[in-house]
């Protein structure tokens, strides 16, 4: 006597991206905190010092936020016009910022008034950064020049006039105090050495360059411009290594993860993409609500801060280990000790006689009804489960099982208005799903056959039936469109694929009956 075999619930393949280590890592952030700034956020920079405050440059202000506060801990407002590129020095004490009015200001992080003002550029300064020895400042301006300034004297040291368009990005080397790179709208990247008066290396990006970034080793350089992100090998005289085209609008900002193994790029297309720096494949991507202008990662990737054109600053903090467990509301009621724990960790001794207790198989509610051949009730319980946890798989499996038993008609018939509307509701939700369509189409036809006599008696059901009809018509149109596209693709493929000849001996030497030489033959009497 065999036991009752439960209804098989079909497992459908999970569509979409596969879960990898990267998705787990990059999804492990809390819901974003959003702060409204006064204008587009052009730059975000993290302080290298311990609480890792970050400076957000937007409109005419620079706000400094603490790691967990949503209110700025400090604000610099002494700008006559839009401020740009507020960056910390490597000791976290000083902050430099360019401005639309061509003056570069240097602030003490704790102070309010600018310590130094560097005047010399004639147009807006979009880039200002400290060199690695902390005594000089690099600035790049829309007057096609870039300058090195001495902080103590606030004097101009050198001026390079090599670019032929706005310079909108630049980066100083962290390892060498004399090296820096600038990127310009004239499509070039230039590398300068402060000890010589000319650029030492020029690379052509082919698009206006929006952002440059050194690798931690500084053997590689990443530049973003247009829709492209390009990686250059500096040790091979600026040879292009890879060109990545994963965004469909201009890439505005680049950033490296804390361990230097992932590269992040932000774009006006509202996406942030995460690349693996060994194979340059996109391993993850974030979506935001508006075009992104600036992006920064806290050390150790503790938070992701994104600034957008609509002035919204979005901050995502990494989940801590206890938060990972999920919502910690009231503790779940533990099973009673006496029942569940007793003997659970008892190890049998050597001479103990083990009595195996057969595990009682628990049947699902609908299976219990099916076992008793209560077909209508089984369908009811299956619908109930769909209402409860929105899993159409179970309901569809039960309908399929009923159809296999040949009793689906009995199960569907004899329902009142409420029951029927629930059933039609389920069909409306799932009948066009390609995974369930074969089963549900039969069920729908049966329902229409059974209840066609009473159509018009209930307004609720009638409205639902009309909705169902619209749904099916829309689906048919959609399928027709898809078939048309498929046909187009087929012709395209057929015309582009090379035609290959199959070596067929039958063409040259036919192996028909007549040509065969009288070889050894099986003799049959």
């Amino acid at each position: 006597m065999a036991s009752f075999k439960p209804t098989k619930i079909q497992i459908y393949p999970q569509l979409g991206a596969k879960v990898t280590q990267d998705t787990l890592y990059w999804k492990n952030y809390k819901a974003p905190v959003q702060v409204k700034e006064f204008g587009a956020i052009t730059n975000i920079d993290f302080s290298p010092l311990a609480p890792h405050n970050y400076a957000v440059t937007a409109s005419t202000r620079i706000h400094i936020y603490g790691p967990f506060s949503q209110e700025p801990v400090k604000t610099f407002t002494r700008f006559k016009d839009t401020a740009y590129s507020g960056r910390f020095r490597s000791d976290g004490q000083l902050l430099v910022a360019g401005c639309e009015d061509s003056v570069v200001r240097l602030f003490d992080v704790s102070g309010k008034v600018a310590l130094r003002m560097f005047k010399g550029h004639t147009k807006a300064v979009h880039v200002a950064d400290f060199t690695s020895d902390c005594y000089h400042i690099l600035t790049c301006s829309d007057d096609y020049t870039c300058c090195l300034w001495d902080i103590p004297n606030s004097t101009e040291l050198t001026k390079y006039k090599e670019h032929s368009d706005y310079i909108r990005c630049g980066a100083t080397s962290k390892l060498n105090k004399d090296l820096f790179v600038t990127g310009s709208y004239d499509h070039t990247l230039k590398m300068f050495d402060a000890r010589v008066q000319k650029s030492v290396m020029t690379m052509d990006h082919n698009h206006p360059v929006e952002s440059v970034l050194f690798y931690p080793s500084e053997g590689l350089l990443v530049s973003a411009g247009g829709r492209y992100v390009k990686v250059w090998d500096l040790l091979k005289r600026g040879q292009p290594l890879v060109s990545l085209k994963n965004h469909h609008k201009t890439v505005t900002c680049l950033c490296l993860s804390g361990n230097g193994q992932r590269l992040l790029s932000a774009s006006l297309d509202r996406h942030v993409k995460v690349y693996n720096t060994t194979n340059y494949k996109v391993v993850h991507s974030f979506d935001y609500t508006a075009s992104i202008l600036s992006l920064a990662l806290a050390p150790e990737d503790e938070s992701v801060v994104v600034g957008m054109t609509n002035g919204i600053l979005s901050i995502k903090h990494r989940k801590t280990s206890e938060e990972k467990q999920g919502p910690t509301g009231q503790p779940r009621r533990q099973p009673v000790f006496r029942v569940f724990v007793k003997g659970r960790n008892c190890v049998p001794k050597q001479d103990d006689f083990l009595v195996s207790k057969s595990a009682k198989s628990h049947l699902a509610k609908y299976d219990k009804q099916l076992k008793r051949f209560n077909v209508s009730k089984a369908l009811d319980t299956a619908l109930e489960s769909w209402k409860k946890n929105r899993k159409p798989e179970i309901t569809v499996a039960v309908i399929k099982e009923l159809d296999r038993r040949g009793t689906l008609k009995n199960a569907l018939a004899g329902r009142d208005e409420q029951n029927l509307s629930q059933l039609v509701n389920f069909l409306i939700g799932n009948v066009v799903d390609p995974r369930f369509a074969p089963v549900l189409v039969t069920a729908t036809e049966m329902i229409l056959d059974i209840y066609k006599a009473v159509v018009g008696q209930s307004s609720v059901v009638d409205r639902q039936l009309v909705r169902l009809q619209e749904l099916v018509e829309r689906e048919i149109d959609y399928q027709q469109d898809l078939l048309e596209v498929l046909g187009m693709l087929d012709t395209l493929f057929a015309s582009t694929l090379p035609r290959k000849e199959v070596p067929c001996p039958g063409n040259s030497q036919p192996n028909g009956l007549a040509e065969v030489d009288p070889g050894p033959q099986l003799r049959v009497a």
């Binding site: 006597m1 065999a2 036991s3 009752f4 075999k5 439960p6 209804t7 098989k8 079909q10 596969k18 879960v19 990898t20 099916l370 099982e401 296999r404 038993r405 040949g406 074969p438 039969t442 199959v502 070596p503 067929c504 001996p505 039958g506 030497q509 192996n511 028909g512 009956l513 065969v516 070889g519 050894p520 033959q521 099986l522 003799r523 049959v524 009497a525």
Partner: protein
């Protein structure tokens, strides 16, 4: 043409055991059932076949116990004889020749020396009318007796044995046919007929299907085709009979049976539920559901302790009276057709084919026993007529038996075809196949062929389908994620939208051939490149087979238009062809040989040949009637060493085939039969213990031990090994514990009793060997006298051992020596044991 007489075609196992009702013997130890041309005796406790009673020359149509001797049974057969057997020893006692085609047999305790058999009215096979006749068995000592005396009891009865029953210890006999119930009273020599109104116009079919009479009261229970059971009473008058109706079954009641005391009524039908009705309290019912297949017969042991039900899937279930299944005797399940091919499981060497609906069965050919069923569909089977169920239609093993692929399909009347491809991996721990991957709708239409690549490097499966494509499935390894390895589609191919019908890998797995209707395409499975096409225009390709070993350069194909072609793959040209209507081409996996079954004018011929040689190795005309669709070469567990040319092809493997009537046949050679005969003589069968390999091992060991013991205890004590020791122990164990003296006191006695016996046995050996010659005559003379002695000895020897009887003083000395040695031994451990 050579016809060989040395090779015979023989039936091999797998016959029906559910054709007629089984019989349980009065001690409930054995179960007798007709199985093909023999009667099989099974042990009810171990499910093993104990005896195979052979002697009938046609289908056995009934088995009953001899009412006057409970150790004997009658069996009747379509060959027109009734045979009387002693089933405990498996001996044929008597043969009664009746010369009619017998359909069933009935006996009653009241009618000693009379058998009731159902025979056709006119002695023709095709006759539609049957009569129940009484056969008076002549008393004669001859083993074969001609029976002349037949007296008709009832005319126009149903040939179904379930439709005739004896009532109240044989006072009357009741038979049902169509819509009529006929009761014949032996005392009055009068019969009454009762008929039901036909319910055909109301859409009800209430004809009788089975009948059972209450053993104590005047009550007849009848089963009907509409699922009703009627209980007839007061039927010894023509008019005032009454009946009550019970209804639970929704399909026809196949069988009915009262228990011997008449307290319960058992019924069964297609629902495969055994229903137990309480007599007189019919609303109380017990059910035993999900017995596996439709119940065809129910039998009850004479003491009422066991029931057994036989089922449509060639199974007998033994059920305790507490309605619990205790044993299952399962034969080879043969549906009306074998959808999957015959296969050999490379691990267990079992024959594999589809069995119960939705299952694959593994059947041991050597032991003629089903090993196990593998549930493929894993769905509740609905026992109802007219429900489309999933059926296993294709199955394939890879070369090592690590993977099994199965295809199941369900065709509904209105909607589309449902196909599932399942891949099973062999689990070493559970010793069975575990589901690995399920592919729903692998193809859009029926799958026509499926095979695994034989190459050891890749696990590759190829399926071909009527949708014009073939697909290659590969075991993909997901080592980067947590998922275990699963199968996925690797390649989809086709050829000019033709429908592929068959596929075949070459022996090393480097080539793959598909038959696309009239064209054979050869592909390379590594690059999926179409290497060449071969064609032989008239007729679509039916079967493809690569040659093996020395003939691996040949590809053989059969077509529907009577062609057997052999292509040479090196030159890509036709080597030879011959006009033959080959219904099946099968390659022997252990040699170059090929077997071709050709159907010719209603019968089948067999040719066994090598592709490289023009002459067939073996041929047999008119093998059987009808087409042979399924055949398989099964490996032998022991190689034959036949040197004769015509039987050499059977040395390494054995060819089995299924005929149109689903008989499993094979070829046997003379050497094989001789060997079988020799081995069967060796076996001495103990009663009720079946000859399993385990028994053979243990039994032989036991025999040897016995012989040894006899050698030891001979000539003095016959078969009473160590009587004094055993009696002392017995006494010790039988006495209640509170009467016994303390254990420490007993211990020394106990140890001594053991010592004496062992020393005597050991010392005995030496003189026995020394004096073997001199005593041999003595033994012979003593032998007869001693026959009556052992019992006395048994009682008398508690104090004096038999060694002393022989009066050898040497022995007592040896004993003393032994005892002294024992005294010196430190036995304190024993006392400490006893103290605590």
């Amino acid at each position: 043409m050579v016809e060989h007489t040395g090779i015979r075609v023989v039936h091999r196992g797998g016959s029906k055991i559910n054709f007629r009702e089984p019989v349980i013997t009065s001690d409930s130890r054995f179960l007798l059932c007709g199985s093909g041309e023999s009667v099989k005796v099974y042990s009810t406790s171990t499910e093993e076949c104990v005896h195979d009673l052979q002697g009938h020359t046609d289908l056995v149509t009934g088995v009953v116990l001899n009412p006057s001797n409970h150790l004997q049974a009658y069996s009747c057969s379509a060959d027109g004889t009734v045979r009387l057997w002693d089933f405990t020893d498996g001996i044929l006692i008597k043969t009664f020749i009746i010369r009619y085609h017998i359909f069933s047999i009935h006996v009653s305790e009241k009618h000693v020396g009379v058998l009731f058999v159902v025979v056709p009215m006119a002695n023709e096979k095709g006759s539609e009318l049957f009569q129940l006749v009484a056969v008076h068995l002549p008393r004669s000592g001859d083993p074969e007796v001609e029976v002349g005396e037949l007296s008709a009891v009832l005319c126009d009865v149903s040939p179904n044995p379930g439709a005739v029953s004896f009532g109240t210890g044989g006072e009357y006999i009741a038979a049902a046919k169509g819509l009529q119930l006929e009761v014949f009273f032996f005392k009055k020599q009068k019969s009454y007929r009762f008929s039901l109104k036909s319910g055909m116009n109301k859409g009800i079919n209430n004809s009788f299907t089975c009948i059972s009479c209450h053993p104590k009261e005047d009550c007849i229970a009848t089963g009907h085709a509409d699922g009703k059971i009627r209980l007839w009473r007061n039927f010894n008058q023509k008019k005032e009979y009454t009946y009550s109706t019970l209804h639970w079954h929704h399909n026809a009641v196949n069988t009915l049976r009262f228990t011997p005391e008449g307290t319960n009524l058992l019924s069964g039908g297609i629902e495969s539920v055994l229903v137990q009705w309480r007599y007189t309290q019919e609303n109380q019912k017990d059910f035993l559901p999900r017995l596996g297949a439709a119940i065809t017969h129910i039998a009850v042991s004479p003491d009422g302790s066991l029931f057994c039900t036989s089922h449509a899937d060639n199974k007998i279930t033994i059920i305790l009276s507490s309605v619990k299944v205790s044993a299952i005797i399962q034969g080879l399940v043969k549906d009306d057709c074998v959808r999957t091919d015959l296969m050999i499981d490379p691990r267990s060497k079992a024959l594999v084919l589809n069995g119960k609906p939705g299952h694959l069965q593994f059947y041991s050919l050597h032991r003629d026993k089903q090993l196990y069923n593998l549930d493929i569909v894993q769905q509740e089977y609905i026992h109802e007529q007219g429900v489309d169920q999933f059926q296993v239609v294709k199955a394939a093993f890879d070369t090592h038996g690590d993977w099994l692929a199965t295809v199941e399909e369900r065709r509904q009347k209105s909607s589309e075809l449902e196909i599932n491809l399942k891949l099973w991996s062999y689990d070493e721990q559970t010793q069975s196949f575990v589901l690995n991957t399920t592919v729903t709708a692998p193809h859009e239409d029926q799958i026509t062929a499926m095979c695994f690549s034989p190459s050891p490097e890749t696990t590759l499966l190829v399926t071909t389908s009527l949708d014009g494509h073939f697909k290659a499935w590969l075991l993909a390894d997901h080592s980067d994620t947590e998922e275990s390895a699963s199968w996925s589609c690797d390649f989809v191919g086709g050829y000019h939208l033709l429908k592929p019908g068959c596929c075949c890998f070459s022996a090393d797995g480097s080539l793959l051939a598909f038959g696309f209707q009239e064209v054979v395409t050869v592909w390379s499975p590594t690059s999926w490149e179409l290497l060449t096409t071969l064609s032989q225009p008239p007729g679509a390709v039916r079967d493809l087979c690569f040659g093996r070993l020395s003939c691996s350069k040949y590809l053989l194909g059969t077509s529907t238009k009577n062609q057997l072609c052999c292509w040479n793959l090196l030159t890509c040209s036709l080597e030879w062809n011959t006009p033959m209507d080959v219904s099946l081409l099968q390659a022997d996996p252990f040699s170059e040989n090929m077997a071709a079954f050709c159907s010719q004018s209603g019968s089948t011929d067999l040719f066994v040949f090598k592709p490289s040689e023009p002459r067939p190795l073996f041929s047999k005309k008119a093998l059987c009637t009808g087409k042979v669709e399924r055949a398989i070469f099964a490996p032998r567990d022991q190689m034959l060493e036949s040197s004769e040319e015509y039987s050499q092809w059977l040395n390494r493997s054995q060819l089995y085939f299924l005929t149109q009537h689903m008989d499993l046949m094979t070829f046997s050679t003379k050497t094989e039969e001789d060997r079988l005969l020799a081995s069967s003589k060796q076996l001495m069968v103990d009663d009720s213990v079946a000859i399993t390999p385990f028994y053979l091992l243990l039994g032989r060991h036991k025999q040897q031990q016995q012989e040894k013991q006899e050698l030891l205890t001979n000539p003095l004590a016959e078969r009473t090994p160590l009587p004094q020791g055993s009696i002392a122990i017995k006494e010790l164990l039988d006495t209640p514990a509170h009467v016994l003296p303390s254990a420490s006191f007993l211990c020394s006695m106990f140890v001594r009793s053991l010592l004496v016996s062992s020393s005597s046995a050991r010392v005995e050996k030496e003189p026995a060997e020394e004096e073997m010659k001199s005593e041999s005559e003595e033994v012979d003379s003593d032998g007869e006298a001693d026959l009556f002695q052992p019992k006395q000895e048994l009682w008398g020897s508690a104090a004096q051992d038999p060694v002393e009887e022989s009066g050898a003083p040497v022995l007592t000395k040896a004993q003393e020596r032994e005892l002294r040695r024992v005294k010196k031994l430190d036995l304190s451990w024993l006392s400490s044991l006893l103290d605590c």
